[in-house]
Amino acid sequence: MSLRHKDLLGLEPLSSEEIALVLDTAEPCKQIFDRQVKKFPTLRGKVIVNLFYEASTRTRTSFEVAGKWMSADVVNISASASSVTKGESLTDTAKTLEALGADVVVIRHRHAGAAHLIARAVRARVINAGDGWHEHPTQGLLDLFTIREKKGRIQGLTVVIVGDILHSRVARSNIIGLTKLGARVRVAGPPTLMPLGLRELGVEVYHDLDAALEGADVINVLRIQRERQKKGLFPSLREYVRLYGVTKERLRRAKEDVMIMHPGPANLGVEIAQDVVEDERSVVREQVKNGVAVRMALLYLMSGGEPRELQPAD
């Protein structure tokens, strides 16, 4: 079995088997962290372009490291958001990159559907590294990998996602991936940060975080952007922290071994307390490592690789 899609634009088009394949392939990839020579020869001669229209340290670096450890040539482009006003269209940029030899284009963009737009325009494979509020599929995959690694399964777990669901591509990809793999998903946040009709995606909606945490196996805390408060979507940061800030005290309602996740970067003391991030049940650092492993697996599979052939270089 392999990935049948030219591009990875979201988790929605993937079957649960395809998601499981990526997670399975990420396991041998992760062993590279323990090796002296961190190289697979697999993608030698391939060009990966990281085309980032939004500031990002962790996702961009993660793709860069993943590509380099697979022996690909990695080019980073930090396109300014103003390139549109300069008259350069996204499809034009993508076609230029293809003409320069890009085999894979990894794109981060503030507008939903941007990855679809360039995927239609070029033959190169396109990986969505976050498009507006739509999806962040590699974050979804690394979160799934992390849960499966620590809990041994995903099916039947109760996962709470707390925060700004409405504007979060991380939330969307997590909801889609988790429900496909049989987890029970609860979302918690104020109604103004929650889309209408969320229940139709098969999740349980809570506005009371304490109730949502009851018996939870996993809590995934989303970053809250201060500009949402400025736009009047909630009255004050103080009130938000009081209602939805994740503290050790609050976590007592969850299962004793609740796993604590955050996609980063965290606003410490706002959506999550410092001591929660540093708690032994927190997997925040592990998520970062797993991000590299999952992205390596994806780059490998999208280049037509078979999982069993994956061998480190000597």
Binding site: E12, V84, S89, L90, T91, H109, H111, A112, G113, A114, H116, L117, D131, G132, W133, H134, E135, R169, R172, P195, L196, G197, L198, E200, L201
Partner: protein
Amino acid sequence: MSSSLLIKGAHVWQGNGFSPPTDLLIEGGRIVRMGPGLADAKARLIAAQGWLVLPGLVDLHAHLGEPGHEERESIASGLVAAAAGGFTHVLVMPDTEPPIDDEAALEFLRQRGSMVQGAALHVCAALTKGRMGEELAELAHLAAAGAKALGDARSIRDPAVMRRALLYATMLDVPIFSQTGDEALAGDGVVHEGPVGHRLGLAGIPPSAEWTSLARDLFLAEEVGARLHVQGVSTARSVEIVAAAKERGVRVSAAVNLYNLLLDDTSLADYDTAKKVMPPLRPAGDVEALVRALTDGVVDCIVTDHTPCTAEEKDVEFDLAPFGAAGFEVALSALYTRLVVPEKLSWRTLIEALSVRPRAIIGLPQAELREGAVCDMTLFAPDETYRVEPGAWCSRSRNTPLAGETLRGRVQGTVIGDRALGPCFEGDAGERRRLP
């Protein structure tokens, strides 16, 4: 017209059905004879066996780009495109640059329109100066200069301004056109707010943006006794709101946009910016309610809301693309294929919605298909099947979500007074289409 025309063997609309095969002899811009077995040695013969002759179609909502955005459409290309789509009359909106908010601008449009061998042009002039929603435009002057409707082609923010405009216009014999969609509620939204838009991560426009602006303007018109025409009715709840107002005796008519009748929001999954329209594509239940509302007469007419956009404008991120789709040259075929053939809409309702009622709304004479009547007709071949190729359009723009679709039924030509336009008249005595 340099010579007479003899249209042979067509089925002519009779008000409640089509006639048996009949011939029409046209001379000097009039139907001079109508009946089977006509002959005229001098007349140019049009073999129209199996075709339908419809009263000329009227589009009460179109944007032509000129002045200001001639790269999208000019008045000439727009009116030729409209005629190619079977429309004999088009009401153009005032949202040009500069906007059509005074007599000089209105006169410019009318002059340009009169020079085109295409559909006849009529103007909806702005209701407020600069379409800013603050001060009233010179409405009496505009009406006297020939404006057939008054409206800003956007919802007026300040209810007091809207009320004043409606009240002032009660002394004029011109309808006020009100566009649905509260701009503050719509915010930065680009699609209908609902599960589909949420899955796509696109900012939603709550349907209440339409309901509240619609209900507000209906209440204001009711209070002052004005004649109101609402543009952009696109939800089941909006249909209920209009029906209730009509029941109370409010003088209101309503229009639905072409693509709101043809597509629902699930078709947005590919982020195709050709489907980014305003009002946004709605869920299937709304689309069904709109089709029923046409049959019930709650919604009076179908308009194209023809909004040409260049390829460069549309080939961008969904959020950044302008709203709107071009509709002239695909409307009748699409409505016939998607609604009439599957018997969701009768020919009678379609003709009411595309000709009879829009004429009544802006005070155009009805198109009559009888001996002695001035020509105002559309020729349609219901059995011709073709692929939509926007590249071959008369319009300067190609932005339709139906590009590449196979449709049934095709417009063959229009006759407007002494102008016979369209492929069936080309190459001989009938006047050639003059390309802009």
